[in-house]
Symmetry: C2
């Protein structure tokens, strides 16, 4: 690729995050004339827009142009060919999907010098082989791989953990509430002050009604979202975690309801199991504590786990608000008090922010 | 400078932070063979080590070599000449001093393509003209300017705030405890639980004995350290703060003791003023609150202030431990609950970490 001061960008995915990202990209391109940011490809699962001569797609109307397009998306190898031939200073793939197929293709893009930014967890929490392939391809070609939003959305979690590791600190333990849904549920079910929340099943129904859960709440309650995030963090600190199935994850789905036909049936039957959760909560209250659904990594023992734990009411984890996430990094340098980062860990705007900040790192690199 | 894959580094300052940084640099150079990291200059205020042919100075023995050296430091223009002529891929100046003279020279280094990393606040909290000169020189030449440790030491404060701004979020308010000394003093003097701390003068004497204050505690109690940090944060969000003297800073030095001849005399007479601080604390307690020494920036009204405020015992600011810092960023995207970062905000190792992470950003850039 010749050194014209232009960055060509291909975006796959035009859903919630994709739309927020496009709006941020438009602002960014307006503020930063150099290098020139050119959108040369945008695709949903069904459609695409691109020009054989790489003529820029207007950012302000990209979504409308995509809706009206009759072009089909390029296959992934063809997309890589298209980007490599674009003669831009740099080419960047923005993957705003959660497609496993695209994640599997990251190494082939990186190997060809195409940098990637994504909020998806798919590439980093699947097989350990894929993780290795991605980062060795990036190291070999010099193409960048940023995935800040894969954990904690726009919160600076991945970058901070990498800085700790890269500057030679010794991370001893990571602990926190890594799911906005679980945060909301337990902050509401077992508040640190006042008379306490409603019945567990009512809290789950409320969270679903407010849009805090997946369409089928079991997709949150199985703990797999938290397990995937922990897998990513553990790998960054050097643990060779084979997959999110390699460590214990406490599911909050009663065994009897695993096979309920739908989310609605699950919710309808959940009250039968309220006594169980109420007992767990009462047991914690007897000790002056509250229950929270947390993930933790003990680096020395390599113990990773996800599930319910009791916390002092005065602890930062217990004191979390709303659907906020919290991440505590215990390290040798930071000593007894961890480095803590907390705030919203989900939502289109903050997730897109983590994508945009990755892109800014790529375009800011001198050359 | 030709594109040999080598980064030449000049370090000024070999005190506490300088020594920690050298140890981290040695580890980094061992882990990252590419680009080759070469220390080509190291200086204290009195001595220097460098070789006309840029032969590398061994990192492991750099401090000893410096102690034994009979070379005098180069003048700043000569140092810039030396670095520019070094024919390395990149040249980086690490300023581990708190010298205003060196800070004043940053624009001339940046303009010549030399990137700079520093933990010093001097260049960024002085005149607004210097701030503008530095960042316009960096923008013009493409040389990088990193100063993460100038606020909150190794905590990711500067990078996070820049990401918020650069991705187009609207920061509405910044609030927090930005001084380890003030944090320790008030966490101890007005704890959130238990029967409360000792007399104010005794707490100050204790903090000094434990090494938490400057040799003369008035250098902490005047609030200027906090004011300098606020100046930096305010400028990043776009406020044209002329200097730390442009906004109100509440000094905790009784007027009568401003002119005490020494820190010891100050401490000896401080008990005469304990009643004043006790009354402030009691007033807060009546409302069920505690007092904390905080800085805040209201971006819309451009109001910046530093001083004592009352906080609910359950708030993250009141709940801080030891000498930890806390930074709350309120933004449009993050909504009612701020993005919070907390942890140790002082100390040689964590301060050096912020320097090393800046250097890593520079050497990681593709080219």
């Amino acid at each position: 690729m010749a050194a014209t001061r232009q960055v060509n960008i291909a975006i796959i995915g035009a859903g919630g995050v994709g739309k927020c990202f496009l709006a941020q990209l438009e602002q960014l391109a307006a503020r930063r004339p150099t290098p020139k940011i050119v959108l040369c490809y945008i695709a949903s699962s069904k459609k695409a827009v691109y020009n054989a001569d790489y003529a820029p797609i207007a950012l302000s109307s990209a979504i409308a142009t995509l809706s009206a397009s009759s072009q089909a998306p390029l296959g992934l190898p063809s997309l890589a060919d298209y980007l490599v031939s674009s003669n831009a200073h740099k080419a960047v793939l923005i993957d705003n999907t959660s497609s496993q197929d695209i994640a599997d293709a990251y190494p082939s893009f990186l190997r060809r010098g195409i940098s990637i930014v994504t909020p998806s967890k798919k590439a980093f929490s699947g097989s350990y082989q894929l993780w290795q392939d991605i980062f060795s391809a990036s190291a070999e070609s010099g193409a960048s791989m940023y995935h800040e939003s894969s954990v904690g959305a726009g919160l600076p979690i991945i970058s901070t953990l990498r800085d700790l590791v890269d500057t030679g600190d010794e991370v001893t333990k990571i602990e926190g509430v890594f799911s906005g849904t679980m945060s909301f549920l337990f902050n509401s079910f077992a508040p640190t002050s006042g008379t306490g929340g409603g019945k567990w099943s009512a809290e789950v129904a409320k969270a679903k009604a407010l849009g805090y859960t997946e369409p089928d709440p079991r997709d949150d309650l199985n703990g797999m979202d938290v397990a995937r995030k922990l897998t990513i963090l553990a790998r960054i600190v050097g643990l060779e975690v084979e997959s999110p199935a390699s460590f214990p994850v406490q599911s909050l789905i009663p065994a009897e309801l695993e096979s309920a036909a739908s989310g609605d049936e699950f919710l309808a039957r959940l009250p039968e199991f309220d006594a169980q959760m109420e007992a767990t909560k009462a047991e914690a209250e007897k000790e002056g504590k509250v229950i929270r659904y947390v993930g933790s990594i003990d680096v020395a023992t390599k113990e990773i786990k996800v599930g319910l734990q009791k916390f002092d009411r005065a602890s930062p984890i217990a004191g979390l608000k709303g659907s906020d996430n919290i991440f505590s990094f215990y390290t040798k340098r930071y000593g007894a008090n961890p480095l803590i980062i907390q705030g919203a860990g989900a939502g289109g705007e903050v997730t897109a922010m983590g994508v945009t900040s990755g892109l800014i790192k790529i375009i800011s690199h001198q050359s």
